[in-house]
């Protein structure tokens, strides 16, 4: 494929592009100058020519293929060939039921259509593109990753820094704790291993579970997992949205309060035994977001306190009402007022009435809020990793769940424009674009040696030298320091490498599974 000439530094934005500027966002208005810059960045990133360049040179199709295929790259399986891809074109046209025989074909079509984004659906019993030629009953979804979607808009009632489409480093903390808790539940409770967390490009995060067992789950099992992970329920006109006494493991009647072990692990015990939710409650809800400062917000808190403790709650109200605006009590102080009220009620009531209630409050403010519809159905479509979010120009990059908290969506996520600039400057430094032919279709593991220690990347890649590629690729390597892939020349590198390691682990397991099966059939 010919290498396109470098882009001019800045192109005038095409007038018809919807750049989604969020002028109603307070924070953005404060930083109007940076918004300006960002708007330019968005326009440049979502410019059709930039998009095409990105698809041609940077998007790691081969890794994407391996990830979906779950098997060696030269053996396309039904997991890829029968997989649905849906494209949203620049003009918003939506094309469903596309399927491809391999990574090359997918890439060719993406470059031809130059879509604004594309989504990945399930593996069907027949090739989606042939669906009209097969019987209706012969075309049904059979296999797909278990997926989760967390969107910041569901946190509007608990975050104070942004609202709606906005997101900042501060409210990202809610996402971080959600990832922590979900990741733990999926691994420890359900035993899943291959979880890929992907920044959605604007205000949320997706999780793709690729374990064979997860992919084979029927809708009712997916629904059951959603039920397991759904703690916050109720509409916006309902104040109390968590009631663990009725949602399993409840302390009814004479039985002492008992929280389900999965929730207990998330909340944790006291002091140093605190779990992620408790820590997030203190750091994020009380300290950073100061969620109970305004009257509207602390009124909510009072309503969540035990309804039987009218006297104590009344005292708290009087205290908070009487404080003058300049000596207004912070959320942290208000919470310690609450704790003190609990304490004063005596040991029995503090334990049996206050504590469960306070734990419910912690859950309500910090427990993951997943978009359950996305997860419940086998045939849901979800945006592919590494596509570009049209409103931000940011690439949907995979993140290491251990480091999600350190990720700043506003500064750590590369945009298309930025990546193309990096590519240009690398080529300017290293003898321009004519240096050598580039094939995005051939990935390499060679570059792991000079892996840059970006936040989102993990330590090294030593655990899986031989797994994701076959030998033909490794033979042609020159040296570790000269990148062969365009993405290696940009800040996309650590993200692709993270993705690559993830794919390798999946492929490895597929291989082991196959070996075990072969052995089984011989034995049999």
């Amino acid at each position: 494929m010919p290498v396109a000439s470098p882009l001019p530094a800045a192109r005038p934005p095409p007038p018809e592009m919807d750049v989604d500027l969020d002028f109603d966002d307070e924070q953005d208005r404060d930083a109007f100058s940076s918004l300006d810059e960002r708007a330019i960045e968005v326009r440049e990133s979502s410019d059709p020519m930039s998009m095409l360049q990105y698809y041609r040179r940077l998007l790691p199709f081969k890794q994407l293929f391996t990830w979906l295929n779950q098997d060696l790259s030269h053996q396309p399986s039904r997991n890829f060939t029968h997989r649905e891809f849906a494209f949203t074109l620049q003009n918003e046209a939506y094309l469903r039921y596309n399927s491809f025989s391999d990574a090359d074909q997918l890439k060719r079509e993406v470059c031809r259509l130059n879509p604004a984004r594309f989504e990945i659906g399930p593996v069907y019993s027949a090739k989606p593109k042939d669906r009209k030629t097969v019987q209706k009953s012969g075309f049904r979804p059979t296999f797909r990753e278990l997926v989760f979607d967390i969107d910041m808009t569901d946190y509007d009632e608990v975050r104070t820094c942004c609202s709606g489409k906005g997101i900042c480093r501060r409210c990202w903390a809610f996402i971080a704790v959600a990832v922590r808790v979900l990741d733990q539940a999926l691994r420890e409770d359900f035993g899943f291993k291959h979880l890929l967390w992907v920044y959605s490009g604007r205000r949320g995060i997706h999780c793709w579970v690729s374990d064979r067992e997860a992919c084979e789950l029927a809708d009712d099992a997916r629904k059951a997992i959603v039920g397991w992970l759904e703690v916050i329920k109720g509409s916006s006109n309902q104040v109390k949205k968590v009631d663990t006494s009725s949602t399993g493991g409840g302390g009814m009647g004479n039985h002492p309060r008992s929280l389900h072990p999965s929730l207990r692990r998330a909340i944790g015990g006291d002091g140093p035994a605190s779990g992620p939710l408790k820590l997030a409650f203190v750091d994020t809800v009380l300290k950073d977001q100061d969620c109970f400062r305004s009257r509207r917000h602390w009124e909510t808190l009072l309503q969540l306190l035990p309804s039987t403790e009218t006297e104590a709650v009344g005292r708290l109200r009087t205290k908070w009402e009487s404080s003058s605006p300049h000596s207004e009590r912070s959320s942290l102080e208000k919470w310690s007022d609450v704790m003190e009220a609990a304490h004063r009620s005596g040991e029995h009531r503090s334990k049996s009435i206050w504590r469960p209630c306070l734990e419910d409050i912690i859950l309500q403010y910090t427990y993951p809020r997943i978009d359950s519809e996305v997860s419940k159905h086998l045939n849901h479509l979800l945006k592919s990793p590494f596509v570009v979010h049209p409103a931000t120009g940011r690439v949907c990059v995979p993140l290491d769940p251990e480091k999600v908290a350190d990720f700043d969506p506003e500064s750590d996520c590369p945009t298309v424009a930025q990546l193309l600039r990096e590519l240009n400057s690398w080529e300017a430094k290293n003898g321009g674009g004519g240096g050598k032919p580039t094939s995005n279709m051939r990935a390499t593991t060679a570059s792991r040696a000079n892996h840059s220690a970006r936040k989102a990347g993990q330590g090294g890649g030593a655990d899986n030298e031989d797994d994701d590629d076959d030998d033909d690729d490794s033979k042609g390597r020159t040296s570790a320091s000269s990148p062969r892939q365009d993405w290696e020349k940009t800040s996309l590198k650590p993200f692709v490498e993270l993705f690559q390691r993830h794919c390798s682990a999946i492929v490895k397991e597929t291989r082991q599974h196959r070996k075990a099966q072969e052995k089984f059939s011989i034995d049999f």
Binding site: D189, F190, A221, G227, W228, G248, G249, H255, P261, F524
Partner: protein
Amino acid sequence: MFRTAHPTDRVNGAASSSSSSSNHAATTTIHPTFNSKLVKPKYQHRLNFYSTPPTSEVTIEEFETWAIDRLKVLAEIESSSARNRSYAETKEVINSQLKRYLPLSANTAASKAIHLDLERRKDHVSHFVLRLAFCRSEELRRRFVKAETTLFRIRFETDDTLERESFLKTLNFDWQAVTLEEKNFYREQLVSVSPRIASTFESETFFKVHWTRVTDLVERRRVFVRGGVAWVPMKEQSSLVLAEFQSRLSRDLELTAKALPRLDEDDRLLPVLSHLSMGFMAGISNDYYANASIAADGETVITADMVDSLIKRHAPMCMRNLHEQLEEKHHLRHYARLQYNLFLKELGLPIEEALIFWRRSFSGITDDKFNKEYRYNIRHGYGLEGRRLNYPAKSCARILTQDQPGPQDNHGCPFRHFSPQNLSSALSRHYSLSVNEQSEILSAVKQGHYHVGCTRLFELTHSKLGVKKGEGLGNGESVSHPNRYFERSWSKFRQVQGEGEVVRLEGEDSNQGEEKVKEDGDHQVDVEMLSLP
């Protein structure tokens, strides 16, 4: 998904072909490889997960009658849910049905009178016959699985605790008991999931199963799950067993459906099977008693010749009356024709045979007149003319209340529309009832309880078949539809006949017996038919 072939899947063919062709239940063939596992008696447990097909020879008769008996029970389960019966009510009704049609006694109940193996074999065979009949469509499979699961649940719950335990051990569930160490190690977690067990924790048993087996518990966070394994307390055991039963059965049915074309080679079974499934499709349980009972006659076709004897033996008085009138006058008026035609249709009389029957009965007119004036009418009743509606046979309620007979008419219900004198004389003429017997009926009728009179007549005329006062059509059910009356009478008769007694009903001419003597060879069903995967 992989399913390793069970060794027995292949053994059955061999077992059947090597066995002698015998006609009786007693000759069961056990393949040598089974001896290590299955020692006598053949069925060690009352309950059955039906994971292996029957290995013994089955006669055509067993094949049909056993299946029909099971079908009756399943039908009652379906209609219970259609009627919104509570589970407790359903259980009660089904238990009494089971006693009648498909008894299954505990090991402890073994005695000379109860042949455990026979009961269990009937249960086993009938299940597999119905699998064949119901695997053909998604809808049938779903309904069959649902009804069978309920049946299993009822039996499971009534099983003797010890026998149940030892039965469960044989199933090789890959659920594993949680060891004492594990249990104690996770004590806090286990108790926090089900606080109620705190006091009995020491004696509580937990099983480990894959979490997808208990999705209902997972969804409500009612179980401890670790690494994909759910730790299910004993008290939730039955939900586990049932889920297992259900999922295995659905899986097996799909496999059977795929393998079914093999069965087409045996054309003796197909009509039986399709009749069985058609009846089930018809919905309400009672609807297929008619089809099923007639189908079970061995031949699926009732002929015009058979109508007379069937009516005289099994029909309720209203139909008997119409039949007698037709015989006598060679004619019936419009509403009478309508009532009788639909009754015969529902009985299973095919349209061709119906036309023959009516043509013969209307002996006083020319073919031309018959074709012009009546043929259309009869075909219309079968939904073959005009708006082509599928008219149902009239129920007692309709007969009693609609289209009241005028002075020239014979239709209607004798209990309601006859004068007491006429009713009394008809009762003695057709049924030779004594004065005492008659007065019971007449007094019920006097109070307006026409169906009570009709039900009592059923009891009296079937007393020699063991029907006692108060039993009605069975379990105290009263007459509500002439076709139900007919079917119960017919199946009562079959049942007794099947036990080898020759019983003649009241009012039956002595030379009426249309049973065919089948050749012995025809009676054998290749058991391979039941061994589909």
